[in-house]
């Protein structure tokens, strides 16, 4: 008989829990070093959930969407609408947002996955612009147009209040960990291997007997559902949603974050999300302080972000996390060869 041990494609439960623990620890450390600004880190984590959802579509499946904010924004508006027009249960509102957004994504996604590359990017953007218009104008009676919707969520399980910074932090942290857990299992499952391979060579996968369109469609819907969850959480924490949440412009921020962190890895998405939010939150006060010292106006933070992105593009093609993994691999190799010698 053969002696080869078949390597498993399935993750060991222990490993998955360990990695989730590392993510938990990471955010707690981040909370500590930023001086226990619960409100900030909650914001960071919501953005990270959004970046994770984008990574599934872009990093794993290889489809760059310019219209991801449609699902984030739809989730936000649906959650807010539930709170305003039905009842104030935040979990029901989130569930409603995720389910209805998934249904919408099932329709838009079916059309979008028929295309790829630039056509996919433009088509998703067109859907986003359409959705953005619908929310802003025809539905303004319900969405209050530019003024936005104010929503006040009730307690979660009668215990935690989104209005309280520490409570909101705990709820969002738990949801982030759940999202990470689900994506960690999904991306390493046979399904995950398959969508990564679709990214590499879709034709080949079709000739292995797979209906790739269907797998792309499912991935699109899952990605949109998680984005809607992030949008819903945003409403719960902010108590407010405006057309900014569904604007295509914010899509650029997600792309920045994923490029900084490294696409195609959940850690890359998390690190990218955090680094982007750190730059976004810490740079403006630093710049104004520097302006005070220098006595003249300095370029705003977006320009510095642009410079950072240039450095990333030219020096760290695979993002910060990809770079670290590569260096660690080289180090391990050199240690191994030294031991061998």
């Amino acid at each position: 008989m053969n002696t080869l041990k078949y390597p498993s494609l399935r993750s060991r439960p222990g490993r998955v829990m360990l990695e989730t623990g590392i993510v938990l620890l990471g955010f707690l450390v981040l909370l500590a070093i930023t001086g226990f600004k619960f409100y900030w880190i909650t914001d960071f984590m919501i953005f990270c959930i959004l970046v994770l959802s984008f990574d599934l579509l872009y990093g794993y499946l290889g489809h760059l969407s310019f219209g991801h904010m449609l699902y984030y924004g739809t989730g936000a508006y649906l959650a807010a609408s539930w709170l305003v027009y039905f009842n104030n249960d935040p979990l029901l509102a989130l569930l409603f947002a995720v389910i209805v957004t998934s249904l919408i994504a099932a329709v838009t996604g079916w059309v979008a996955v028929q295309t790829k590359a630039a056509a996919f990017a433009l088509l998703t953007m067109a859907f986003n612009e359409l959705g953005s218009f619908i929310v802003h104008t025809p539905l303004s009676k319900y969405t209050r147009g530019d003024d936005g919707l104010i929503a006040s969520p009730g307690k979660v399980f009668g215990l935690l209040r989104f209005g309280k910074d520490t409570d909101a932090f705990i709820i969002v942290l738990i949801i982030l960990l759940l999202v990470f857990l689900v994506l960690r299992i999904l991306t390493r499952s046979p399904f995950g291997v398959l969508i990564r391979s679709v990214k590499e060579n879709e034709t080949r996968i079709q000739f292995l007997g797979y209906d790739t369109q269907r797998y792309k469609w499912i991935t699109f819907i899952v990605s949109a559902a998680i984005a809607a969850l992030a949008g819903g959480l945003f409403v719960m924490v902010q108590g407010f949603v405006s057309p900014r949440a569904i604007s295509t412009l914010s899509n650029i921020e997600i792309i920045f974050a994923i490029l900084i962190g490294g696409a195609g890895s959940l850690y890359g998405a998390l690190i990218g999300g955090v680094l982007f939010m750190l730059v976004k939150n810490y740079l403006p006060p630093v710049i104004s302080a520097a302006e005070g010292l220098a006595g003249f106006a300095l370029p705003q933070w977006e320009m510095w972000l642009g410079i950072i992105l240039l450095i990333i593009v030219f020096s760290f093609r695979k993002g910060v996390f990809g770079f670290a993994v590569e260096k660690a691999g080289l180090l391990r190799q050199s240690i191994k060869s030294r031991k061998g010698a």
Binding site: L4, P7, S189, P190, F191, S197, E200, L208, Y210, D211
Partner: protein, 255 residues
């Protein structure tokens, strides 16, 4: 023997170019066939029509008695039509073994009600893994199973690609220029492999050099400008005046 695959009046136009022109073709189960023709004669396009990569402009393809003219490629794979590509097509980001396992993740037949269990089913089913390992042994790559695909030579990648399609347990194997870009040594190995597979699988091999196929195939068809100009046993094809004219020109001789 039963007819496994046949085409009738198969035609494919690309704009004004008629790449495949009314091809009638028929093969029997268990035999090895060859298709030769000069560059641009429509060999690969013909394969693309048989495997479902392109939809024909007109004409019909039947596999095992069923009309598959407009059937999608992944469905044809499920029915037992597997192909390799002229440029080797394997997954560089995966290991050799993962490349093989990838093909066994799929359900035996793609159908919608089974889409959901896909997420929950066991990835490593012993039986299909045995198939994968057997395929890897057949092409002689069993020792390199755990290597990353990137370190393989081009010839080994070609073998890996053949192992992948073998693991699908196809009824018909379409090999698109399996010798292209390989060294003489590697070509010899693949020729032996094809010989060992003949009888077990029905095979169609595309090649543009006549010499390689003479000993391999039972029937050789010559494509020229999208039409089959001759189909016979290899020795008879060699003697055919029209084929000699197309390949060597009148009188002159090289290759």
């Amino acid at each position: 023997m039963a007819v496994l695959l046949e085409s009738q009046g198969l035609t494919k136009n690309f704009g004004k170019l008629r790449a495949v022109n009314g091809v009638d073709y028929s093969i029997e189960e268990g035999k090895t066939y060859g298709i030769i023709g000069p560059n641009g004669s429509g060999k690969t396009t013909f394969f693309n029509l048989l495997s479902g990569f392109h939809q024909p402009s007109s004409g019909q393809v039947r596999f095992d008695g069923k009309d598959i003219t407009n059937t999608e490629s992944f469905v044809r794979t499920g029915m037992g039509v597997a192909r390799t590509f002229q440029l080797v097509s394997v997954f560089e980001s995966l290991s050799v073994w993962e490349n093989l396992v990838l093909s066994t993740l799929r359900f035996k037949q793609s159908s919608y009600p089974r889409a959901l269990p896909f997420f929950f089913r066991k990835a490593n089913q012993e039986e299909s893994l045995e198939d994968c390992f057997t395929a890897l042994e057949t092409v002689g790559l069993a020792g390199k199973a755990e290597k990353p695909t990137t370190v393989l030579s081009y010839g080994d990648k070609r073998l890996l690609e053949i192992a992948i399609v073998l693991s699908l347990k196809p009824r018909l194997l379409l090999l698109d220029e399996p010798f292209a870009g390989l060294s003489d040594y590697e070509i010899g190995f693949i020729m032996e492999l094809i010989q060992s597979l003949s009888g077990k699988f029905t095979q169609i091999i595309i090649e543009h050099k006549i010499s390689k196929l003479i000993t391999l195939v039972e029937k050789l068809s010559v494509l020229h400008n999208g039409s089959i100009i001759c189909a016979d046993v290899p020795e008879a094809v060699l003697e055919n005046a029209e084929v000699r004219n197309v390949y060597w020109g009148r009188g002159a001789g090289c290759d």
